[in-house]
């Protein structure tokens, strides 16, 4: 055995994050670690990677008990981790990040930049990553940052690499690239621990599975012995009977129309419309311009030419403030940065965009705020102890519901969802879909950007496909992944003529 964990316990304050964590990894195996958010996966990985110390239990590394106190101690014995959230220094280059803390030891702390650049370029070329050593990390997309994290972890011949949801910000071909890297590591007899929420990718990577629930290991065994339903049953602790079903209804009046929207270098000649009661999916590879489209519609980035009509009137949206006023809502892909104020209570977050409606002459009406917060916590089934709980202390799925509640409270009419299910667990995903369905039934128009094609096929009434800043195809909701990929990755099809 490469690594064995027995009866690991960890408490934060009074909260038990791990009560009985068990895990064993052999060299050359890809070990999947599954569980809902809050099940203790991240804590277990942080213990292995030396980021936090365990309170009780045993950790054996190559047969000897170890107590890791820092990530560098873990790195020294051959354990490295690819983090889910980017832990890179944004102002440094890709190469500098790769070698951060592992620079050559030269006198006076001197750094030999050209050699570092060369080594980094070789590594990137060897794996065929779409990166360049001299790029500054802050300019990279989430996918690019993820690749840098992966490069960093495999750079110095570790014997165990932990992947914490490496594909959550990646799409199709990039995810395939990650799988390829994982398989290469396996061939080199490296142990891999792989955390994921995307059950569809399990078979592409995994050998064995360990499932955590409420801080305890509830199952361990070969992947081949489990069905998807079986996995979900272990994760959730009960049957997930009703999967999501989209209520289909005839679309109502037009809520949003975008004509010939262009933003130099990012978007060109975007035309589409959203109707009341409609959920329109937006597919495409990372970097196709989907997030950029959301940002432009929401007034974050200025548009060069083209127009936006809402309810028959042309809008000039120059800032998020104006977008919100016009009835738009943007559920961003990185909810912890742009979606929530983590250090404020849930109640304040829910009412943040609509403070005006709970205030008179600038004074807040506290009881109206609390009533609204309690109402939404109940309606959206946000699992929180009280409206005063800080948003940062909620799980990913519940945080997402708070973001949605914020826009419901603001009575938005047109919703832009950018990767709404990123990093949230199976149960919460279904709840988010049901919320979207309910919104649509109440007459909202929804644009849903997602890199998970299976989700789009499940949720969307029709699907727009983007590639290189253009809309390259429009498909009915009941299409296939192959058909979407044809428009997302292959040659451009003229579509603007077909539009009504």
């Amino acid at each position: 055995m490469l690594l064995e964990l027995h009866h690991i316990e960890k408490r934060y304050g009074g909260v038990a994050a791990l009560a009985d964590g068990n895990l064993a990894v052999e060299p050359g195996e890809v070990h999947l670690l599954l569980g809902e958010n809050g099940a203790g996966k991240s804590t277990l990985m942080k213990i292995i990677a030396g980021i936090v110390e365990r309170d009780a239990g045993q950790m054996m590394w190559q047969g000897r008990e170890v107590h890791l106190k820092t990530p560098s101690e873990a790195a020294a014995i051959g354990i490295s981790m690819v983090h889910q959230e980017s832990l890179l220094a944004p102002h440094l280059t890709v190469a500098e990040n790769l070698y951060l803390g592992r620079e050559e030891r030269l006198p006076f702390g001197w750094v030999r930049r050209s050699r570092m650049m060369d080594a980094a370029s070789r590594l990137i070329a060897e794996h065929g990553f779409p990166l360049r050593a001299e790029w500054r990390v802050e300019k990279l997309t989430p996918a690019g940052k993820q690749l840098v994290e992966i490069c960093r972890a495999i750079l110095h011949g570790s014997s165990l690499v932990i992947f914490d949801e490496p594909t959550s910000s990646l799409s199709g071909s990039e995810a395939a690239e990650v799988f390829r890297i994982v398989r290469t590591l396996r061939e080199r007899k490296v142990g891999v621990i792989y955390i994921t929420h995307r059950l569809d990718e399990l078979e592409s990577v995994g050998d064995r599975v360990t499932i955590l629930r409420d801080g305890r290991t509830v199952h361990t065994g070969p992947l081949a012995d489990l069905t998807t339903d079986g996995i979900i049953r272990h994760m959730v602790g009960r049957e997930v009977s009703a999967m999501y079903q989209r209520t289909s209804l005839p679309p109502g009046e037009e809520r949003l129309r975008v004509e010939h929207l262009t933003r130099k270098g990012e978007l060109s000649d975007i035309c589409f419309s959203l109707r009341a009661g409609e959920i329109v999916g937006m597919a495409g590879l990372i970097g196709a311009g989907r997030t950029e489209l959301c940002r432009a519609l929401f007034g974050v980035d200025p548009i060069d030419t083209g127009g936006i009509w809402m309810g028959g009137r042309q809008m000039s949206i120059g800032s998020p403030k104006e977008a919100v006023k016009a009835g738009l809502a943007l559920v961003t892909e990185d909810r912890q940065i742009t979606g929530l104020v983590l250090r404020l209570p849930i109640a304040h977050n829910i009412t943040l965009a609509g403070v005006k409606s709970i205030s008179r002459f600038g004074f807040l009406n506290g009881s109206a705020q609390n009533a609204a917060a309690e109402d939404f916590i109940g309606r959206l089934r946000i699992r929180a102890a009280s409206p005063w709980q800080l948003a940062g202390r909620l799980s990913g799925g519940n945080q997402q519901k708070v973001v949605i509640a914020k826009w419901l409270f603001r009575q938005a009419q047109v919703f832009l969802f950018d990767e709404p299910t990123r990093g949230i667990d199976v149960g919460a995903k279904v709840e988010v879909f049901n919320l979207m369905d309910e919104l649509a039934r109440e007459g909202a128009a929804i644009l849903m950007v997602s890199s998970e094609m299976a989700e789009l096929l499940q949720v969307a009434d029709r699907i727009l496909v983007m590639r290189e800043g253009r809309i390259t195809g429009e498909l009915p909701g009941r299409t296939t992944q192959e058909e979407i990929m044809r428009y997302a990755a292959l040659e451009t099809q003229p579509v603007s003529e077909e539009r009504p």
């Binding site: 943040l352 807040l364 202390r393 049901n434």
Partner: protein, 331 residues
């Protein structure tokens, strides 16, 4: 609401500490320190618990305290204002100059307050319109305001001020220093503003996460500018009180006061990262510093040592606050 696919009956994975309890806890430690300090001084020195001495503590502290109220708002907003000492001088100088030129006392005070407001507004506009870090902008305006004050006055203090003006800083109302009434009024107004108005709510949101505030459609620039303007206004008032106590308008007044105001905010639990701080905390912070300096005087501690003690207290207070936060934080 449609039926959720997954029913959950067990407790949420991360039990919450109620936000309000957390805030109360945050205020408790400085408050206890203040009481301990007060009691200790009362025991150590027979002169401490006299009317004269306590009045003098209040008068000495009031100027820093009123400035610190504005600084609290600015720090919660995620900013800083290094120019308040110079704004204080500008306010005091222009206010007293107005009186020298024949304006009435209220008009003179108003001049000082408006001067402060305009200086703060200039800071706010530069920060939001030029998008330069508050530290840099106010470092620059610290020099600009101070230099302007010196140029206007030719470096000389204003002396010909009506005698009744001293009432603002030295008078008593109902047996209590007038400045204490002013301080209580300003503190109440700031507290209400921060806790019960849209401006306050937005200020906390902007300071905690500016980007999310922009995405929520909050007029971030307007509210940021407003906070600096209000901070400047309070500083202008503090400048008039300082001028009244000294009965001069000094272009060199208030040097180093910005650091005392910042210290009061952080001792009171404010975070220079933004998003945290409270009026009550700042009041306690300012009084802790006031009592330390008064106590040292009474007990004959060297003024050199005094400075070192106050410096150590700042670090100690923030360290304790950090330790508490780390203990209660679950990752």
């Amino acid at each position: 609401m449609s039926q959720p696919a997954v029913e959950r009956t067990e407790a949420p994975p991360v039990p919450a500490r109620r936000g309000r309890e957390r805030i109360v806890l945050q205020r408790l430690l400085p408050f206890l320190s203040l009481i301990v300090l007060f009691v200790a001084l009362a025991i150590a020195s027979p002169h401490f618990l006299t009317n004269t001495n306590l009045s003098s503590v209040v008068r000495q502290t009031a100027v820093i305290n009123i400035m610190a109220l504005g600084m609290t708002m600015i720090i919660i907003n995620g900013g800083i204002d290094l120019s308040v000492g110079a704004i204080l001088a500008m306010g005091g100088l222009l206010g007293t100059m107005a009186m020298e030129k024949g304006f009435s006392i209220p008009a003179g005070i108003l001049t000082g307050v408006v001067t402060g407001l305009l200086c703060g507004l200039a800071n706010g506009l530069m920060i939001t319109q030029l998008r330069i870090a508050p530290f840099i902008v106010t470092l620059g305006t610290l020099g600009i305001f101070r230099g302007t004050a010196l140029m206007i006055s030719g470096g000389l203090p204003v002396h010909r001020i009506p005698q009744q003006f001293s009432f603002l800083g030295e008078g008593n109302v109902l047996g209590v220093p007038f400045v204490l009434w002013i301080l209580v009024g300003c503190a109440l107004a700031t507290h209400v503003l921060m806790e019960h108005t849209r401006l306050g709510r937005y200020t906390f949101a902007i300071g905690s996460n500016r980007e999310a505030s922009v995405y929520a459609g909050i007029p971030v620039k307007f509210h940021t500018t407003a906070v600096y303007a209000l901070g400047g206004m309070l500083t202008g008032l503090a400048g008039m009180i300082e001028a009244s106590r000294l009965m001069t308008g000094q272009p060199t007044a208030g040097q180093g006061y910005e650091l005392q105001a910042i210290a009061a905010v952080v001792i009171g639990g404010g975070s220079l990262q933004g998003g945290e701080g409270s009026v009550v905390g700042t009041l306690i912070g300012a009084f802790i510093m006031g009592l330390l300096s008064n106590g040292s005087d009474l007990l004959g501690v060297s003024p050199y040592l005094q400075q070192a003690i106050i410096g150590a207290v700042i670090i100690l207070a923030v360290t304790l606050d950090e330790l508490r936060k780390r203990r209660t934080a679950s990752l």
